[in-house]
Amino acid sequence: MRPACASALALLLTILAVAPATAHHTGTYTPKDNAITTNFKQLKFSVQAGKFDVARRLFDDGPLRREMRARAAALPDGLEARTRAAFDAGDAAEVERGLMVFFAALGRDLALEADRQLAAGAAPAPTGARFLEAIWRYYNLVDFAVSRRDARASVAMRLAYDDAEALVRPAAAPAAVSAARVRESFRRIADILSGIIHAPPAPVR
């Protein structure tokens, strides 16, 4: 009896170690907005409705402005002040530009951090995928604003993102993902977003 029990136990341990639980439907997760993206949407809709006093209050008290202040060193000089002034002046285009630069900066910093972590030896596929997701979550909010001011940059960003995604989620096995190529793609994304951040103000089409 003991050898049979041992075999059964070994089999169970093997199954637990290797068998994936691909089944068992347990609901669908819908990603939520964080405090910054929620605040952004509040500002956007208030400005679109022409309610600049509401938008200014949401900006003054909101997490987006706090984050702008926390990252002031990595943002263009005076971005927060210019954006605040745009709310006062009721200048929707300038508000949009200020927020566009802010989210582009968030995406750029994430791309640089991804490059740093991959250089330190992080697994390229899972780490790259997570960072790409986070970058797109921010960039997606301002892609339209980017395309209205610089269509070429918008296209370049989309292409760079698609290329990076194809690298981190290849049809082939994850072991085939090249860390060097993934790093290069993140550097490219960081360059494009830096270009958007430091571009001179352009007329809105």
Binding site: T22, A23, H24, H25
Partner: protein, 171 residues
């Protein structure tokens, strides 16, 4: 408490068993089921409005897989519930309803009502064959509505019988 006829008990047990099986299919066989559904959609392009464009068709396929899984999920939850409802309500009928005709009518209505979850199974299969809108219409018109009405009428009939039942003092 008195027990209802064997055939009613059999239907109750079978409905619960099928509900459990539906749950097992939803969990353990989910990847295989999704693959089968996707293959059925591709085999039936006219019913699903496939265009030949990969991006659009992939969305149609995913939506259909989701609709079939939803039908199966509803079947699982409702079958577990209506099987129990039949068990308890038919026990009440056996215990408190007098008159063979009244009991027979209530057994028939309640048993038909317990088969209500088959409407969701019908929906899941009909969506595959006929497309979403036609599938919903077929399931609603021919299965869900009539069986749902039977369940409601049966339970109302039982309630009426309970109200009309003489108290021990009246004899």
């Amino acid at each position: 408490m008195s027990r209802p006829p064997l055939i009613v008990v059999f239907v109750a047990v079978m409905v619960i068993a099928l509900g459990e099986l539906g749950g097992a299919v939803l969990s353990q066989l989910r990847p295989a089921a999704a693959r089968w559904v996707a293959a059925r959609v591709v085999a039936n392009p006219a019913a699903h409005g496939l265009s030949g464009s990969a991006e659009y068709d992939e969305e149609v396929r995913d939506r259909t897989v989701f609709a079939v899984e939803a039908g199966l999920s509803f079947f699982h939850t409702h079958a577990e519930g209506t099987g129990l409802v039949l068990f308890f309500t038919s026990t009440l009928v056996a215990s408190v309803v007098h008159g063979v005709r009244a009991r027979t009518a209530l057994y028939l209505l309640l048993t038909a009502g317990a088969l209500f979850p088959l409407g969701y199974l019908t929906y899941a299969l009909a969506v595959l064959q006929l497309g979403r809108d036609a599938g919903v219409e077929l399931a609603e018109r021919w299965v869900l509505t009539p069986l749902g009405v039977a369940a409601i009428v049966g339970i109302l009939g039982l309630a009426a019988a309970l109200v009309r039942r003489p108290t021990p003092e009246e004899g």
